[in-house]
């Protein structure tokens, strides 16, 4: 099922693409200040964060403890650069604070934690997010709340056994208010998962664990919206949406790097990278 291409949905997609561009600008701004960071992940996941924070989730930027809020659970703490961008864009934190990313005494840590507003828990020690997401989903259900849980995991993180403990529990308890996004960007610290420790076929694993499962292009806003629409029609099962994403998406030099798990860039190169982001967006070029 896909959204009909009415003028309304076309404008929604365009507006979310603009948000995603804005998030990518924030990501570059943060990394440029400190000269390094998890830039590839931040750029790669910008489309999903734009869809969730500006097209899907119910939350109040000025009240992080609103009990009825949808919750975004960042299991992969090093993707914090992407979440800081979304939180700044949403008005949860000030955009100026982005300049403190990774700096001493900053609350915008390289691997994000719950000290930052908008962070529901501390990820980064991988394999923690989904279990806590299950607990939150159980708690919300006990309180008869409609709020949903959106958990972001990664392909490498699937090597952590605790993720599968949580996957079993979510399915056992029929947590259909729980949406897990698995970012398959094909990079972990020591290289591609296929070389480190194979995780594929990722979608078949989730399906076998009893989850409603889809696999989509995670850098396609329309595909993400359609996947969410589809998932919401399925009752009685948690939802896994496996995302194939391109690390460094939108900045050609990063997209083409072989090793981009953690990126360091010399000060004089940033202007070129910024230009790449703007030109990719203006001519609509899609890099395969």
């Amino acid at each position: 099922m896909s959204r009909a291409s009415t003028p309304e949905t076309v404008s929604k997609v365009q507006s979310l693409e603009q948000r995603a561009l804005s998030l990518r600008r924030h990501v570059l701004r943060m990394a440029e200040r400190v000269g390094q960071g998890y830039v590839g992940q931040g750029l790669g996941i910008a489309d999903l964060l734009a869809v969730l924070y500006f097209g899907e989730m119910n939350y109040d930027p000025s009240n992080q403890t609103w009990p009825d809020r949808d919750r975004f659970i960042l299991s992969i703490g090093h993707y914090s650069i992407g979440l800081y961008a979304a939180l700044a864009e949403a008005g949860v934190i000030e955009i100026e604070e982005l300049d403190t990313y990774g700096a001493d005494e900053s609350r915008l840590e390289m691997s994000g934690s719950e000290i930052t507003p908008g962070f529901e828990m501390t990820g980064g020690s991988l394999g923690h997010g989904l279990g806590q997401a299950v607990g939150m989903a159980l708690g919300l259900r006990l309180d008869q709340k409609q709020a949903r849980i959106f958990n972001l995991l990664s392909d490498g993180e699937l090597q952590e056994g605790s993720t599968w403990e949580a996957a079993m529990a979510a399915s056992h308890y029929h947590l259909d208010g729980l949406f897990a996004f698995i970012d398959c960007n094909n990079q972990q610290a020591d290289g591609p998962p296929a070389k480190v420790l194979s995780v594929e076929p990722v979608h078949e694993k989730w399906r076998a664990f009893g989850w409603d499962t889809q696999r989509v292009d995670g850098n396609n806003i329309q595909a993400l919206l359609s996947a969410l629409d589809q998932a919401k029609t399925v009752r009685g099962k948690p939802h896994a949406i496996v995302l194939d994403t391109l690390m460094g998406k939108g900045v050609r030099s990063f997209e083409q790097r072989e090793k981009n798990h953690f990126i360091r860039v010399d000060a004089n190169e940033w202007s070129t990278l910024r230009e790449q982001l703007e030109s990719t967006q203006s001519d609509g070029e899609r890099i395969p």
Binding site: E114, M121, T122, H128, Q132, G135, G139, L142, S162, M168
Partner: protein, 340 residues
């Protein structure tokens, strides 16, 4: 494999115990499943209390809560990392989760989840851990002999080793009302009643002086306090007055009470159902050093070894966790003092 020493065949004529038997340590009075009953009562008072277990409901007495409040109970299966993770998630939606398993599985298997999932952000998770120290005849896999050391090292975490049914019963509603993560050792099944429920009052972070004396001090925690109480009687029959300080909260540690006792009596026996490293004895030694005291210390507890399997009475004697060992250590300290 040369580094592994195999154990010689046992002497069949020496078989005396059943490792599966529940041992109440010769207690005159016991209470049935005090934790389970206390949690049901707390759950009746406070609707936010929920229960979880990792396939050990019947073995941690939380099955009583599950029967009373099935909708507020979550069976997590044999997955201790997830047990703590789910509990932390429930805490973050405003519930007060009591999660049960055995000490070994909670602390060894799920350490990172307790540290990061629960403690780092002070999530309101209560971890209730059975089979502390030598309370099971199973060997290294099941005996929680280093859990207090592991848990004491985690910031923000409150660590409790209750003495008996009286203290467990009192502690449940107290820790439910206490904001933040708690690790509490559990005594299950028929649990001895050693402390008088009429006069004893459990408080988090407060050591209790159970016996007044001047010849020697005993500082104990957990079920060792029951044995220490008997040791005090034995010493009294030999004309010695021992003071007994029961420290059920290992963290935060009641440094003030310990120092005030040891300033008066600089001779102390510590007694714990745990390694002599990293638990009560270490906390006392830290307090003594930081407080600038000069104290003679004897440590009753398990040396840094994996223990045998066997019947509990056998293990208690084998590793010198018995009343006689406490009394003997106290006697030694007094004699040492008088020979100076």
């Amino acid at each position: 494999m040369s580094h592994i020493q195999s154990k010689p065949a046992g002497n069949l004529s020496g078989v005396t115990g059943n490792i599966l038997s529940s041992d109440t340590f010769g207690a005159e009075q016991t209470a049935d499943a005090p934790f389970g009953h206390a949690l049901v009562r707390a759950g009746e008072q406070n609707q936010r209390i929920v229960g979880l277990t990792a396939d050990l409901g019947k073995y941690t007495d939380i099955h009583l809560f599950a029967q009373r409040f099935p909708e507020r109970f979550f069976q997590i299966g044999m997955a201790e990392q997830n047990l703590i993770g789910v509990a932390a998630g429930l805490a973050r939606t405003g519930f007060i989760p009591f999660a049960t398993t055995y000490c070994v599985f909670a602390t060894r298997r799920a350490y990172d989840f307790i540290a990061i999932g629960a403690a780092l952000g002070s999530a309101n998770v209560k971890i209730i851990a059975g089979l502390p120290g030598l309370t099971t005849g199973y060997g290294g896999t099941h005996q929680g002999i280093e859990d207090l050391a592991l848990m004491r090292s985690i910031p923000n975490l409150t660590v409790i080793d209750p003495c008996d049914a009286t203290e467990l019963t009192q502690a449940v509603p107290v820790i439910a009302e206490h904001p933040g993560p708690v690790y509490m050792r559990l005594l299950r099944g028929q649990v001895p009643v050693s402390l008088d429920p009429g006069s004893y009052q459990f408080e988090i972070g407060k050591a209790k002086l159970l016996c007044e004396g001047s010849d020697v001090a005993i500082i104990s925690t957990g079920l060792m306090t029951a044995r220490a109480l008997k040791a005090v009687d034995q010493l009294a029959s030999q004309g010695m007055k021992a003071a007994l300080l029961h420290v059920s909260t290992l963290k935060p540690f009641d440094v003030e009470s310990v120092l005030s006792l040891l300033k008066r009596i600089p001779r102390v026996v510590t007694a714990e159902n745990h390694f002599i490293n990293g638990g009560l004895a270490s906390a006392v030694a830290d307090a003594v050093v930081d407080g600038g005291l000069k104290v003679s210390l004897r440590r009753i507890g398990i040396p840094n070894v994996f223990c045998d399997s066997g019947s509990i009475p056998y293990l208690v004697k084998r590793y010198k966790l018995d009343t006689e060992s406490i009394a003997a250590a106290a006697l030694e300290l007094v004699e040492e003092q008088s020979s100076k």
